[in-house]
Amino acid sequence: MFFKWFRFIVLLLVCSALFYVLNTGIMGSGNPIPPMGKLVNPFTGFWQNNQKTDRIPEMLSFSGLTSSAEIAWDERRVPHVFAENDHDLYFLQGYLTASNRLWQMDFLTRASSGRVSEILGTRAIEYDRFHKRIGLERSAQAMLDTLKNYPDQIAMLSAYRDGVNAYVNALRPKNYPVEFKLLNYKPEEWTMLKSCVMAKAMAWDLNGQPEDAQMTNARKALSDSLFNVLYPFQEPYYEPIIPEGDSLALNQAPVESAWKTIDHFVPAKDLGPNYTKGSNNWVVSGSKTKSGMPILANDPHLGLNLPSIWYEIQLSTPEQNVYGVSLPGVPTVVIGFNENVAWGLTNCQSDFIDFYEIDFADDRTTYTVEGKSFKTEILLDTIKVKGGPSIVDTLYQTNYGPIIFTDSVAQNSFNWMIPGPNMAMKWTAHAPTTEFLTFRALNRAANLDDYKAALEHFKAPCQNIVFGSNTNDIAIWHKANFPIRDASARFVQPATLSNNWKDVIPQEELPHSINPSQGFLQSANQPPVKGDYAYYLGRDGYISYQRSNRIHEELFYMEDITSQDLQLLQIDSYSVLARDILPTMINLVDTVALNQDELDALAELENWNYEFNANSKAPGVFQAWFRQLSRDTFRDEVDTLLNWQYPSTEVLLDLIVSDSLSVAFDSKFTPAIEDRTSIVNASYKTAVQILVERYGSLNESWEYGNVKPLTIGHLAGIDGFGRFGLRPNGSKRAVNAIGSDHGPSWRMVVELGETPSGFGIYPGGQSGHPGSAYYDAFIDDWVLGKHYELLFLSTPQDPAVFKNTQIVLK
């Protein structure tokens, strides 16, 4: 009898333990093990996340609609929504976006709100603490409170929310997107706050690279004259956004004389050269096009992930008909066109984050500014942790912004920009912003006046908003709320009574251009103006002349422009940097001293057409050489143990081609006196040596597509759901600005006219479900540089789509 009980109990324990592990997974210090029983069973597990998500039912029915609607699906799975009113339109946008991108919407807002520990446990605590402290969700709440003054905004956000929740609430566990199953958590209801958090997440992604710490270190380490050479306020060479001579009537330099910065170094990691991403947009007026109508192009460059950051959609009611890409989680089209106008965005890269050193009392309940005492606002925030106790975090809020670190903290990939403990971070997007008003107004804009009125509401993140209309107006605006500051804002400043933010630069005085005589406008993250300008706009990683000059040169000489011409310009891989610097570099090489590998590589460079093509070998050699040249020239200038950044590409170009005697060439680390020639030769030999060590003597594996392949990884880093080893042409040195994990996230070219004709593509697919045929459907065509024709419908019964028109009942 005892034996019978014994074997029963042993088996019962074994079965219970197995059930527990297979039902909850294991949260260890390594990769968490998913709940395998839940995950692999064919009835509710991943096998259910198959192509059935691709089915389009003929009929949908929602109690939340006020009247019926129609959705036409084209062959690329772009929904063309035809609704009777705004409420139904944004309800359906919410429903459609959620049904394709729910997990992405959940994860992105969760990450920005500092709620990742709720699903990943203790490993994410520091990530959450940081994101709670920079205050994305607090700012989103302030934004939502402000939007309550605009009834049509709340109507739009609540209709979108209800549409998302119509999907969420109808979702049965077996149909949860597969990432929920892998990470073992449940979808939750959407809120209007989450839409605002998405906006703040975007603002952080675009603004969150302040250079204040690096500039402070460089300024302290270098003499004034060398600092001005290496980190000039305006880089040489660039073609500005606002055409020169297109006077802003503000020819007066910003106050730069009395730099006030803290008098000590701020420690952090070495970022190395070239921490940048960027975007292009341009518009040509009818005077330069074949059709006589403006053509507008835009390709915003972002980190590339799957699911893609964009969801393509057409949104039509009797009052508006707009086509473009939307941001999952946010109603409206963000970049696109309607019957009359088109618009596009690039990032400003101006300075929107200032750091102030705060002089706290010991318990941090008060702080002193110039002898005057202020009370600290102390907030408590809770970080919930899966499988562990919650953590209560204390946030210290000052008039100069929140304190991000109170003690020294190991710097890492998400917090490197913070200069150190007791630094307040002031950010324009902390204020209640109203960018949703801008997008809603642009979606239904009919002319230049509508565009200007829409921009009034655009306060952050700063964008170069380019515009064209079928009344033949073109315009561009460097638009955000810019606090009026002096140039000390470039550095970490001591908090003073006078240097906190007060007024903003009026919109009419911000850099902008309307219908310039040159007949085109372009922006590629370069500084907006050249020469004197009355205000400090600052600079946080303005991206160099390489793209803007190429675009300017091409557009300047083009006539009778067609959409196809501009599509080709978007995938142009030509590097003006290589053209401008490489002949000088090659001339300086002492060929007698070269070994066979070095001679072979040099021959590749000499025969190069300066295009970053995936199957050429020269780009990889040039990149390695230029990077080494930058290191050899600059690495001795500032202590590399500190947080600092290399001088820009243009500064190095300028030294090489026109300042051969610069003291920057001499390394402080060696007794010998280096000059331009010796640095160019030494860096060449080192670069080739690195390539030979990695790839062997010159062979096929030197091809740029192999040296620098593109990864489009999954948003949560789930390897099986990403795409690896892609070989597109392009480089961040070219208009087609593709890096190893970022690049043109949406390429769009729109020709205006009686009806607009658009072309576009993004490196992803309409479905966010890895089990869908449409998950990564556009990637291969995107790699090849193709654009799709965008189907701008005026009715849902268009013959091109009539088979796939879905009736939606209320």
């Binding site: 074997r7 079965c15 059930f19 069973n41 259910q48």
Partner: protein
Amino acid sequence: MIRIGIIAVLLFLAHIFFPFWGWVMIVPTLIASAMAKKISSSFVQSFIAGLLVWGGSALFLMLTKSRFIAPKMAEVLYVKSPWLLLFATGLLGALLAGLGGALGATFRFLLVKPRRYEE
């Protein structure tokens, strides 16, 4: 054979109508505790039923609409091939069902004597 059929049909119906992965252990446990004859044969019958239900259902989904998800999940779960993933799914279902069957049988034999020589 009949017992395998009974377990398989009831398990399949439970999975379809009450979505919960744990039926694969619970259903064989309940059936075995009602009608098991031997622990070993209860294990084997449940094992085969689990294999049929999990493996068969996964095979059906694999052949009909899992062209994209199966290879991706094979990558995620480090088994590389979707066919190996299918095999693993079937085997997991079989093992869990088998263990459930054995548990049910040991429970039954706490209450009733096994009829050893019936066959």
